[in-house]
Symmetry: C2
Subunit: 119 residues, 2 copies
């Protein structure tokens, strides 16, 4: 995506609530599995759109981070879907390794049954 | 799910930030399409788990609402996945009609290309 296209999208989004972010849902473009959910502020969304690698805003550390910057497991952006009220995006990605810090492919690796069995 | 199981899950979740909510991603159990994203507070998550219909917390109206309460387009809960740090859930649902208030099946009905073409 060109810088101009990315600016148009960023300027159309509704960065909401105290955090000034949009919700970003990462979905595997092939398997359609949901990999993780993160927050993107203006800069993180702009960097995601222009570099083709997912970037997020850490609400706790107050910094931009790129998925894969330490692990090498980048997420390559294949498509971006925008929701009806412009405060959330689905980013379809090709993951270059597990997304979750636990080593699982997805952060959503536990169904409620597995979760309850381990309580 | 029993009330006891639902209470165990709700008590394990990390309701975060100023809103005291978890992020909830609704996914069509058949097509794997992402339908919408919403916020659930303790009560909305508990009601979702015990009634088998999705409930949300409206950050603007400060009320609980059930998907379909006005449209009749309920979302029937088929599975719930919990993320690694317990502050987000994926709810796999069987939608009984379009999810989006625009009449589209999903709130994420615009790829960025369509979005830019309509700016």
């Amino acid at each position: 995506m060109t810088e101009e296209e990315a600016k148009k999208i960023v300027n159309s989004m509704n960065f909401r609530h105290e955090m000034n972010t949009v919700i970003s849902v990462l979905q595997d473009v092939e398997t359609k599995e949901i990999l993780m959910v993160g927050n993107m502020n203006r800069e993180a969304l702009y960097l995601t759109l222009t570099t083709g690698k997912t970037h997020f805003w850490s609400l706790t550390r107050k910094t931009i981070w790129m998925k894969g910057e330490t692990s090498g497991h980048y997420q390559i952006v294949e498509d971006v879907l925008i929701d009806c009220d412009e405060d959330a995006v689905v980013v379809k990605v090709r993951p270059e390794g597990p997304t979750c810090h636990t080593g699982n492919k997805s952060c959503f690796y536990r169904s409620f049954k597995v979760f309850l069995a381990n309580q």
